[in-house]
């Protein structure tokens, strides 16, 4: 089935401070993030730790300083079916393997990115909105720097990757702005405990007014 999407600019106030940055909401992929421009979306695939192939979407945008911004959203919604239909009934088709594969996806992705090379200058556990993940900072051979954030929420994996030229400011404006949405498009945030349990916070405060455009993409 072909899905049709609608992209709408919701708010267009004075842009004197924003330098073109937008707050981008994608209800179909259940996230929002700041981009330097409206991203181009490409359908790709993602190979999991257990070697299964999942559908994914790559969102890409360019900044004004030669910087690039990528979000990969991997869709694990068919994980259970994919694992149970594994043809040779190996260990990978066991009853729990589908969610092990999902839970392993953050570490698996981090490993793949480390193996590309470059000097790793930061490599640590992280969290956004109470969702645990991982951050990497890498200085590449050409002295450009790559910043990575990897988070798994619900049945999706979000991989944020930015590369900036040598000396450019770090891309926190993008990397620290990821937020998760529920099926109704409402922001999700959790309260955590030491054992990793998550409780959704029900009374999140509304956002304050901003000076940037809000661009929303949703199913038509």
């Amino acid at each position: 089935m072909t899905k049709r999407f609608l992209t709408v600019i919701l708010f267009l106030p004075g842009l004197s401070y924003s330098q073109g940055w937008i707050e981008y909401l994608d209800r179909s992929a259940a996230y929002s993030i700041n981009f330097p421009s409206v991203p181009v979306i490409t359908e790709i695939t993602y190979e999991s730790q257990q070697g299964l192939i999942y559908p994914a979407q790559l969102y890409s945008a360019e900044g004004v300083r030669g910087d690039s911004y990528l979000v990969t959203v991997v869709d694990f919604s068919d994980a259970q079916e994919l694992h149970s239909s594994h043809p040779d009934r190996t260990e990978a088709s066991g009853v729990n393997s589908w969610w092990w594969d999902i839970r392993a996806s953050v570490a698996h992705t981090a490993l793949n990115i480390r193996q590309r090379g470059g000097e790793i200058t930061y490599d640590s556990w992280s969290w956004l909105e109470g969702v645990e993940g991982h951050q990497l900072q890498i200085t590449n051979q050409d002295s450009s720097r790559t910043f990575v954030g990897i988070y798994q929420h619900s049945l999706r994996l979000y991989i944020l990757e930015t590369s900036v030229p040598e000396g450019s400011p770090p891309p926190g404006l993008f990397q620290q702005s990821l937020r998760f949405l529920d099926e109704d498009g409402v922001r999700v945030r959790y309260r955590n405990d030491v054992n990793g349990n998550k409780t959704r916070i029900s009374d999140l405060p509304q956002d304050g007014a901003t000076t940037v455009r809000i661009v929303e993409r949703s199913l038509d």
Binding site: Y17, S18, Q137, A209, T210
Partner: protein
């Protein structure tokens, strides 16, 4: 007296415990145990959710300058503290206390601002 000091202490402890639950993201990539002092000119100011950002052009001893990315609180939080989107402009001179990225690159978590010689004010 002792009881009131105890209550104040407990409120502080409870407040500190509550921060991680309500914060938007981890600050573990910043050196949060010490402040870095920098001074420069505002190159960009982004009043946006979930965090505001100031890009500050900081002169170096070499005569070159470096753009630093300074992360501030959310617009709503800053408004509560008396800031508005019209308080900072490109070209303003800022003195800053912030937590630098652990890899010692040009990113910093605010922190406090001194704007054009006025009193230092929190921007977090």
């Amino acid at each position: 007296m002792e009881q009131s000091r105890f209550i104040r202490l407990m409120v502080s402890v409870v407040g500190l415990c509550a921060i991680p639950a309500l914060a938007h993201h981890s600050h573990s990539n910043y050196e949060t145990r010490e402040y870095t002092h920098i001074e420069g000119t505002v190159a960009e100011f982004h009043w946006m959710n979930p965090h505001t950002w100031i890009f500050l052009e900081v002169p170096e001893e070499s005569g070159e300058s470096t753009i630093w990315a300074l992360e501030g609180a959310s617009p709503r939080s800053l408004e509560r503290d008396g800031w508005s989107s019209d308080d900072i402009h490109v070209g303003d001179h800022l003195v800053v206390r912030c937590h630098q990225l652990k890899d010692k690159s040009n990113g910093c978590l605010l922190g406090f601002l001194t704007l054009d010689g006025r009193a230092e004010k929190e921007f977090d």
